[in-house]
């Protein structure tokens, strides 16, 4: 009986960030282990036109570097960012990054409300994140992105810049 409750309610009742909805595993956010100085290639396949969608990425250790900007957490909005973005993790050790979707509604950014959730498909060399924003019915096509992880071969571990 999940039809009468939104995903946020189910997440709250389960106390978990992973639930099952209509025979699919739905996550509140996705945590991925990444090697040191890895690069994430984020490609947006589709984004709903009903409201701006965003993929938010946060490094649990270290910082993210995107297009010359550096921060622990970044937001890639569908109405401003390029379709393909390279995100470098500036950390000397293996770490994890969290990804979750957000949307703009009424002039404010929202996440983890209503029917928000992420379904993940693991491919051979990348992951596909199919995201539902929290407004209206569950729709995992509100934002669809692929995440491809590659080690930074130009800067292997132990490499000293300038040497």
């Amino acid at each position: 009986m999940t039809a009468d409750r939104d995903l946020a309610t189910i997440f709250g009742e389960s106390g978990s960030e992973i639930i099952t909805h209509e025979n699919r595993t739905v996550r509140a956010f996705v945590r991925i282990e990444v090697p040191a100085r890895a690069t994430l290639e984020i490609t947006r396949l589709t984004a709903s036109r009903r409201r701006p969608q965003a993929m938010k990425i946060s490094a649990n250790v270290g910082e993210l570097v995107v297009d010359g900007s550096r921060a622990p957490t970044i937001a890639l909005w569908a109405d401003t960012s390029p379709r393909k973005v390279l995100v470098t993790i500036d950390n000397d050790e293996r770490t994890t990054v969290d990804l979750w979707n957000a949307w703009r509604y009424g002039g404010a950014d929202h996440a983890w409300l209503g029917n928000a959730g992420i379904v993940v498909q693991a491919e051979a060399d990348h992951y596909t994140l199919q995201c539902s924003d929290g407004v209206g019915a569950v729709d995992f096509t509100d934002l669809v992105v692929t995440v491809r992880i590659s080690p930074d071969r130009a800067r292997p571990a132990g490499h000293v810049p300038g040497s």
Partner: protein
């Protein structure tokens, strides 16, 4: 000496049992320690759930990035307008009094706000901008002693069920550059009315009262559903929406920074969730 059950005393049996448990614990720790280097191999957690598949997106319900957008002649409220140059206007601003677009299109007021009036011509009668008359038949008696502060200007909850559709869907004229625009304020407040309305006694509303009014207005609007089922009761009682942050496991409240009417120039406050993400492409 080999101990056998028929020759062991109770104390010897306890010592033997403790020794066996200690040996098992040491063995488990050793296995765990040896196993760590193996587990350090890069195996994304995401691969642990290979069965996850939502199916391909339905093109008829989505906007593919490479698709050609068609400019709608009369886009419904809440649907972005796509201009030929690729720019997009998102018109579902709920919290902010929208400025007029550079084009000649008029700005649309959100429900619950009175129409914008020009401060320089406020004294001039303009029937087209007058808000709908408010039925004051059920207004509380202002001669009685003021109620406690938290509810001094709040309506009786039994009366709060009937929102007043003041200026819902009203259209305001495009503002003139350089002229300050402020909404018109009334005295007293009921759900659906302007959050900066003066109290029944004619005083400025306190910031916590403005917050409560703000959330109650959201709670009775069509936008309440955007905050999810869990927040409907909170909004109806004037409380800020809450959400569970799954990364931290903590509950977060939506923040609403309220200033005075004058400091805000009449603009309703804009709420925000905790977080300081960087948008590296902002302004691009």
């Amino acid at each position: 000496m080999l101990l056998t059950p028929d020759r062991m005393t109770d104390s010897e049996a306890i010592v033997l049992f403790a020794a066996a448990m200690l040996a098992m614990a040491i063995f488990a720790i050793a296995v765990d320690w040896i196993g760590k280097p193996i587990r350090r191999r890069f195996v994304p957690k995401i691969f642990r759930y290979p069965e996850e598949l939502a199916g391909p997106p339905d093109p008829s319900r989505t906007a593919w990035s490479d698709s050609t957008f068609v400019v709608p002649e009369n886009p419904p409220l809440g649907v972005p307008i796509e201009y030929p140059d690729g720019s997009t206007e998102w018109s579902d601003s709920l919290f902010v009094v929208p400025d007029a677009h550079p084009s000649t299109r008029a700005a649309v007021l959100e429900p619950g706000l009175v129409p914008i009036i020009d401060i320089d011509t406020a004294d001039e009668p303009d029937t087209t901008r007058e808000p709908a008359p408010i039925d004051t038949a059920d207004e509380p008696d202002t001669t009685r002693e003021p109620a406690p502060i938290d509810t001094a200007d709040e309506p009786d909850t039994t009366r709060a069920e009937r929102p007043v559709p003041v200026a819902a869907g009203a259209v305001a004229a495009a503002p003139t550059p350089g002229r300050r625009l402020v909404p018109e304020r009334s005295t007293g407040w009921r759900p659906g009315q302007y959050v900066f309305n003066r109290t029944r006694d004619g005083n400025e509303p306190r910031s916590d009262v403005v917050r409560s009014r703000f959330w109650k207005n959201i709670g009775i609007s069509d936008h309440a559903g955007a905050f999810g089922d869990l927040n409907s009761s909170r909004l109806s009682t004037g409380k800020a929406p809450a959400r569970r942050n799954p990364r931290s496991g903590k509950t977060e409240l939506m923040h609403l920074d309220v200033t005075t009417f004058e400091e805000a120039a009449g603009r309703p406050p804009v709420p925000s969730w905790p977080g300081d993400e960087l948008d590296p492409f902002a302004g691009s």
